[in-house]
């Protein structure tokens, strides 16, 4: 069978990713009480983005799978960011 070729993640690597995710969660809660004006949302989104990247690369296995999945995923994310950008371009200059 072909399965022997598959990368098997260890329990330890899953637990390390979980630890990193929990630390980032704690950081995003902690940073909420720091007054940074508009940058609060930016920081919150950057932390969420870091967490999402960890989930995509390790838990969803993009790092080890056929690269086509990672390319498709990046394409979808870029598409979303483009739509967001165009929408705000529109709203900001009305």
């Amino acid at each position: 069978m072909s399965e022997e070729k598959h990368h098997i993640s260890s329990y330890k690597s899953h637990l390390l990713v979980l630890l990193a995710l929990l630390i980032l969660t704690a950081a995003s809660v902690a940073v909420t009480s720091v007054e940074m004006g508009a940058y609060n949302t930016l920081v919150a989104m950057l932390l969420a983005g870091a967490k999402a990247t960890l989930v995509l690369l390790w838990f969803m296995h993009l790092r080890f799978d056929n690269k086509i999945y990672a390319i498709f995923t990046a394409f979808v994310i870029v598409l979303f960011l483009l739509v967001l950008f165009v929408t705000f371009f529109d709203y900001s200059y009305r």
Partner: protein, 206 residues
């Protein structure tokens, strides 16, 4: 695709295609939620103060608890895949069972969270909400729609976990045939992924 060619002769199975199909579904899901996030972004841009006031009504503690347990459940479902790949059936069932229990606990927390809100009149069309004005109505509308659709995904996830759990027990899913578990895992990580963004946008709004 060279690795699939060798076993098409005896069993017709294509795990790679199954997984690709799952990913395509995940992309449609990302765009579905993406458009909701877009709506959120525009409405918040136009009603910054109302969104902040609305955010203050939302229980951070329940949000943190649900975030933490959902992250743990993402790790346990990933670990159940590792277990099945190693041929450890009991461990796989244990990890999957843990994930299932956490999914149920998440919904119970959601029930209490929404219950309290509804009790105080913070629901679409509720009196307390209408008094706060248009922007806050939009905020709570998005809160219920987005975390509601997310909760619906949790319920579907629970159904998938029960099915996969039984399949592992019946040895239909095993060391060399586990794409169902893998795709269920991918689905669950998607649910986690969406929550990762819902949590700061509704619970930690500043």
């Amino acid at each position: 695709m060279e690795k699939n060619a060798e076993h098409t002769s005896h069993v017709h199975r294509d795990d790679e295609a199954d997984k690709l199909g799952m990913w395509l579904f995940i992309f449609t899901e990302l765009l579905l939620f993406g458009m909701l996030f877009l709506m959120y972004a525009v409405y918040r841009y136009r009603n910054p103060v109302a969104f902040q006031l609305g955010g203050e009504e939302i229980d951070v503690v329940i949000g943190v608890i649900n975030t933490v347990i959902l992250l743990i459940s993402s790790a346990t479902v990933a670990m159940s895949i590792t277990a099945i790949q190693r041929g450890k059936k009991t461990q796989a069932l244990l990890f999957l069972g843990t994930t299932l229990i956490i999914a149920v606990v998440f919904l119970v927390n959601k029930y209490f969270e929404w219950g309290t809100k509804i009790e105080y009149g913070f629901y679409p069309g509720g009196e307390a909400l209408l008094e706060l004005g248009h922007g806050t109505v939009l905020f709570f509308g998005l809160y219920y729609i987005m975390s509601g659709i997310h909760a619906l995904h949790i319920i579907i996830g629970i159904g998938l976990f029960i099915y996969v759990f039984q399949q592992i027990r019946a040895e239909k899913i095993h060391k060399t045939d586990y794409v169902w578990l893998e795709n269920t895992g991918l689905y669950w990580h998607l649910v986690d992924l969406i929550w990762i963004f819902l949590f700061p946008l509704f619970y930690l709004i500043h």
